[in-house]
């Protein structure tokens, strides 16, 4: 299955969307794993935070299809679509891409 991920990137005032396409076998993949796949296979310049990858630490909080969630605890199948929009948490100073103050 092809998944389209649109990531809101850049620093404050200079934001833009970049779209990546990833081939996925299992819809139970988490959004975090999708983004890691993007970093590994497509674009190492994408900046984001993640640490525990088990839904405990909160590092990977971001806006996913309009809702703030933990990327490591959100599965593709939970979203019911193969088109994903991710962006940094709102109302915060953006350091780069998905990383906020």
């Amino acid at each position: 299955m092809k998944v389209k991920i649109h990531v809101r990137r850049g620093a404050a005032g200079r934001q833009y969307y970049q779209t990546y396409e990833v081939e996925v076998e299992d819809p139970r993949i988490t959004v975090l794993d999708l983004l890691i796949k993007v970093r590994e296979d497509l674009d190492g310049t994408l900046s984001m935070r993640y640490a525990c990858r088990m839904g405990v630490c909160g590092a990977c909080a971001m806006v996913i299809n309009g809702v703030p969630r933990l990327a490591c605890a959100t599965k593709l199948s939970d979203l019911g679509t193969s088109e994903i929009f991710v962006g940094p948490l709102p109302n915060r100073n953006i350091i780069k891409d998905l990383v906020t103050d």
Binding site: A11, R28, R39, E40, D43, G44, T45, L46, S47, M48, R49, Y50, A51, C52, R53, M54, G55, V56, C57, G58, A59, A73, K75, I95, K96, D97, V99, D101
Partner: protein, 575 residues
């Protein structure tokens, strides 16, 4: 360029680092905590099962000596026995300290601490807060730290160099990811509390930041590592993600079963069964898989079942809520009526920066590098020997975090930071990093190399080892070290450049990996977590010794040091 001056600089903000910071701050020191995470998100936050401490000797007929003895035996007698005594005597004070800052320990109706029995412990002596102990501890201590005006947190600062000169510590250099600049921290005293390096392996229960580069950086600064070949595999990581299912499950009565529904542990540890130490249980699962008694996951991984279906569902919901949640999210199973698919994954590094039993960091000859301490998983105090017992690590982090923090503050009093020395080191590091960023060409990707590292570590430094496999892995590692020079960093910026961080991490990881593999190759016996198919027995005559690793002329060298056997003579280890 900026060099900040403090009395004590602590590297790392896990339980060990924050405990050290509090202890030093209470003695009036100005403390900088320099750490690569943001907020209380160090890996300690993921600790689940609990913390070992003999808090109620009378309630269970327990004693400090028994805790120490269990630790020594669990570590297959490679433990420095006085370190185990220190752990046992000091841990209860730390439980009370954490209680006083608001950790919601589970309590029994009579107001005493609830206790769990962990693997290799001969009494229930593990205190806990549900199965999210680390989360509660880190939330409480982080908040506590924020209340000190003399502790300053520098978050998302990757420490790339320890500044050591003339046998003494002077400070650190860090890459401030948010500002994209290097910063120096000068202080007469330092505590390194950088945790473990699970990400050197493919399958690990540790988070993404546990890369273990500091093991390598420490050697570069002239420090020695000890016992790096002893890497703990936790028996019950969820398949396929590697997320940990706590030993608390087995402490609460869970069974391990193979595909025939058999509780196979009865063939490996007839007395302790599922609650044998982790090395024993992990090896048993490995062997069941080898014999074709395991299940096979769609990913190809072999696994066994963790069975809690006979436990009271109400009690499970009460005491193991995280287990239910993790099983559902990461394996799609409901443990109340299905088996949980589990297999071993890398979980803890028994080895680390060599210290004495007070936590003072040592060079290869055993001399103290003045002003420097190491604590927590990053350190090798000798307390865990060849295998750590579950729940002894949180105790270790708190105990040696405090001891190191207190001693560092006392040492710093009346001494001045050497700002110029650190400024020089910042300049040198600046040049080196600029070089990395400017490097043209080179077709290697850092994540590609990391994957290769993870695979070769599993091959040569896995649950079961052999001369052939370790030699093979060491060869591949040498090749990787060469290719590291051809890595290209595609991110041209300096702000939050994750590729730069990953390259810097990988440099240290490759050195650390070499010590693990070298030890796996050289130690011709099986002891604790180190198991050699070609030398299947423990050999006390030749190998009741610590392995020491250090850099000499840029190469990893090794030598041996005696184990301090002061109370209990080595005996056969049966469970």
């Amino acid at each position: 360029m900026e060099v900040l001056e403090y009395d004590v600089v602590v590297v790392g903000s896990g339980l060990a680092g924050l405990r050290a910071a509090v202890a030093a701050a209470l003695r009036g020191a100005a403390v900088a905590v320099v750490t690569k995470v943001a907020g209380p998100r160090s890996h300690s936050i993921s600790a689940e099962g609990g913390m070992a401490a003999v808090v109620h000797p009378n309630k269970t007929g327990d004693s400090y000596e028994l805790h120490a003895y269990d630790t020594v035996k669990g570590g297959d007698f490679l433990v420095d026995q006085e370190a185990a005594i220190t752990l046992a005597y000091e841990a209860p004070k730390e439980v009370h300290f954490l209680d006083s800052i608001g950790v919601p320990w589970n309590k029994d109706p009579d107001g005493t601490f609830s206790l769990r029995q962990f693997g290799g412990m001969s009494k229930p002596r593990t205190v806990f807060a549900k199965d999210k102990t680390g989360f509660y501890i880190m939330s409480a201590i982080y908040k506590h730290v924020k209340g000190f005006s003399n502790i300053h947190l520098y978050e998302e600062h990757l420490v790339t160099r320890l500044v050591v000169k003339g046998g003494a510590f002077h400070g650190v250099v860090a890459y401030d990811m948010r500002r994209g600049e290097l910063r120096g921290f000068a202080a007469p005293a330092g505590v390194v509390a950088t945790g473990g390096g699970g990400r050197m392996y493919r399958l690990t229960t540790m988070g993404f930041l546990n890369t273990g580069e500091m093991y390598g950086y420490a050697m570069r600064a002239g420090l020695a590592l000890r016992d790096m070949e002893f890497v703990q595999w936790h028996p019950t990581a969820l398949v396929p993600a590697g997320v940990l299912i706590s030993e608390a499950a087995r402490a609460e009565g869970a069974y391990l079963v193979n595909r025939h529904g058999e509780r196979f542990m009865k063939r490996y540890a007839p007395e302790r069964m599922e609650l044998a130490p982790r090395d024993v249980v992990s090896r048993a699962i490995y062997l069941e898989c080898l014999k074709g008694n395991g299940f096979v996951h769609e990913s190809g991984l072999c696994y066994v079942g963790l069975d809690i279906r006979h436990l009271d569902p109400e009690r499970v919901k009460q005491r193991l809520p995280l287990l239910l949640e993790l099983s559902k999210t990461y394996a799609g199973v409901n443990p109340l009526n299905e088996l949980i698919p589990v297999r071993p994954a890398v979980h803890y590094f028994m080895g680390g920066i060599m210290t004495d039993i007070e936590g003072r960091a040592l060079d290869r000859d055993g001399n103290w590098v003045r002003g420097l301490w190491a604590a927590g998983e990053a350190a090798s105090t000798g307390v865990h020997g060849a295998n750590r017992l579950g729940s002894n690590s949180l105790a270790e982090c708190a105990v040696w975090g405090r001891l190191a923090g207190e001693a560092a503050a006392a040492y710093a009093r009346g001494r001045r930071p050497a700002g110029e020395l650190v400024a020089e080191a910042v300049k040198a590091e600046e040049e080196r990093i600029n070089g990395l960023l400017r490097r043209e060409g080179g077709g290697e990707s850092v994540r590609g190399l990391l994957k290769e590292l993870q695979n070769l570590m599993e091959g040569g430094g896995g649950i079961v080892r052999s001369e052939r496999a370790s030699v093979e892995a060491l060869k591949k590692l040498t090749d990787l070290r060469g290719r590291l020079n051809n890595v290209r960093i595609s991110d041209g910026g300096r702000i939050y450049n994750m590729e730069l961080r990953e390259v810097l991490e990988l440099e240290g990881m490759l050195l650390a990996a070499e010590t693990v593999l070298l030890g796996a190759l050289l130690r011709q016996e099986s002891r604790g977590a180190h198991y050699r198919v070609d030398f299947q027995n423990r050999d006390d005559r030749r190998w009741l010794v610590h392995s020491v690793y250090f850099l000499y002329g840029g190469n990893v060298m090794t030598k041996q040091r005696p184990v301090n056997v002061t109370r209990w003579m080595p005996e056969a280890r049966r469970y």
